[in-house]
Symmetry: C2
Subunit: 379 residues, 2 copies
């Protein structure tokens, strides 16, 4: 199988479950993609990420173009070989991190010039170069270069920004079709922008659909607008996207964000939260968040979750996890990141099963009740 | 089996191989003990440490008495349960780190008062308290409290210091015999001091043998005297120790230190070097050290050692290891620490086999020749 395709297996309300087929393997949706910023899902072995249930990870074009460089990764056999992850990889366009991390940015119609936040070196990113980089990395699912509209923005600012992203969408598609490093089965997603405006989101979606993409990302959310506003935007954005293409909500989010977005028809997610929180000693569980920095865990001999299939949640006491986090031992970051990636994958698997069984509404209610407990099996 | 015992299986010159039996399992000697300072061999899962071939790890009394505290570890079921390491554990007495890490130390005949380097809290360590802590931790092999004589020291300073350690040896033994938290099969080692003086080392050893210990540690080395001087001291120290008790050279060392010390009749070692170097991107290999910070690895697609049984040495390119180290990614520390612990354990296994086969001299020569190559399979 060398083609990219999406099979929708079942819907339940607006929630969907299916499988994205890629030459490097299947991605069961709804899917959560752990973020492997610089070619590593932080503090985890790639085998652990796979065993936790991840079908796909995300790589950041911005980080990888700076270090070790796209051409370097290509010479080394591509990102899959480099990172010892033979399964599907999605890459972003680099645009978001250019705007949030780099220095001395200068935007133009052509693209963006910037200085590396690491060593001050000068770089240029255009729709064409972004696609070239993603093809050099060997990315299975690539993103058009877009401008992530800041929040808040006036309707006029959002419109100008969205139209730029649409023009870049067309250039990205054109570049993708002629990119010499592209291999069969690679996919390109367009990114819907338009801030919180229903009119602009619809116009963006229509423009992208006219160009034609393998999937549609929803960008410009989770940038400060709050969950209620984000869900309101999803309420009018997913309905204007084609049923037969995967939908990817970029950079989202908390477990609750995932459940509510799946309820609104989203298929794919990525977020640094499970690994970033893991490095700070905060665990995600069925029953809400547990902060291992808190002294109340210091004398607690119980594992975090004796029922978990994750060794990190099952084979170590809360007291030990507290101790490791307090002492800033790497093993603390390793174990809590593992717990979180495992929990996120378990949550996605439960959602897929619930949708397939036509029981998503009941799942969603139970999920909310469990999370509201605020701790797992309190003392 | 609930007793502690040592079976010497073979000797080859002065090199020895055997097995230390403990209630928690056997320790094949010569043995290298990875250092689990605060209840974790840094950047490694305990299962990896075991799979690399370690029969025993070391815990630091100083670190554990400060965080989480000996009584706390005891309440939580002991250090083995706490650290998810059900195999033998050796603990030091805490004295060495008190002298190297703590603040405002005051030594007396009775013991040492000091302030924690972490939070300034005041603590007291005596031979009796050190044994109590080690028993509370559940340590299988415990160390007497001693004074690690600084280097250089005058003969008179070394003598005064060694005599204090001898008096503390007697008090440690007395405390060990009556310590209520002691369980069957726990062992206590005396520590030979005496700086670089043959006369003082002999007097120290005789004094300890008169008291009677389950094993004999050699302290006060690897403190700046250099390898030649250290080996000279071993040359006259191991011969005055009983054949039928294990000998432990504390805080040593490089692979070459281990081979040369085994050649002089040492059975046990511990050192932070494999994990500390691992966190700094320096790998130990059959063919010498490899510094992954070096840019010459940036484009090298080969694994560190395609023949290694260690996945970290076998399944990742040198370019990737270089990238991780350069980006200060935790996975870099995780992989290179794993490589190093695995190499150290492999080296010990090779020495045990060579001694058993009466081929240690040939092994030692090949080891030296291999190490002198300076890199593994150079480009």
């Amino acid at each position: 199988m060398s083609a990219f395709s999406f099979d929708l297996h079942a819907t339940d309300g607006r929630a969907r479950t299916g499988v994205i087929h890629t030459p490097r393997g299947d991605i069961r949706t709804p899917a959560f993609m752990p973020v492997g910023t610089a070619g590593t899902v932080k503090a985890m072995y790639s085998g652990q990420v796979r065993e936790a249930g991840a079908d796909i990870i995300l790589g950041n074009t911005y980080h990888l173009m700076l270090r070790p460089g796209a051409e370097q990764v290509h010479e080394l056999g591509g990102l899959h070989t480099f990172a010892n992850w033979p399964h599907p990889i999605l890459t972003d366009s680099g645009g978001f991190q250019v705007m949030s991390l780099s220095r001395l940015r200068r935007m133009s119609e052509q693209g963006v010039t910037f200085q590396s936040h690491i060593d001050g070196s000068r770089h240029f990113l255009s729709p064409e170069r972004s696609i070239e980089i993603q093809c050099l990395l060997g990315s299975d699912i690539q993103m058009q270069l877009d401008e992530c509209t800041p929040f808040p923005a006036t309707e006029q600012e959002a419109e100008v920004s969205m139209r730029l992203s649409l023009r870049w969408a067309k250039r990205s598609k054109d570049a993708f079709e002629t990119q010499p490093h592209r291999t069969p089965g690679m996919a390109l997603f367009g990114i819907v922008q338009g801030s919180v405006s229903e009119r602009l989101r619809a116009e963006s979606a229509k423009g992208l659909i006219d160009i034609g993409f393998d999937g549609y990302s929803i960008g410009g959310l989770a940038v400060g607008e709050g969950q209620a506003e984000m869900l309101r935007v999803l309420d009018f954005t997913t309905p204007v996207l084609p049923m037969d293409r995967p939908r990817y909500l970029m950079g989202v989010g908390t477990p609750d964000d995932l459940v509510e977005s799946v309820a609104r028809g989203v298929d794919m997610f990525d977020c640094v939260m499970p690994t970033r929180s893991g490095r700070h000693g905060q665990a995600f569980t069925r029953y809400g968040r547990v902060n291992f920095k808190n002294a109340r865990h210091a004398a607690d001999p119980r594992p975090l979750d004796a029922q978990s299939a994750c060794p990190a949640a099952r084979d170590y006491s809360r007291a030990y996890l507290h101790h490791l986090v307090r002492c800033e031992e790497m093993l603390g970051a390793m174990l809590v990141s593992w717990i979180n990636i495992h929990y996120y994958q378990t949550l996605m698997a439960e959602m897929r099963a619930a949708i397939a069984a036509g029981a998503f509404a009941a799942f969603r209610e139970k999920f909310k009740a469990d999370q509201a407990r605020g701790d797992i099996d309190p003392l």
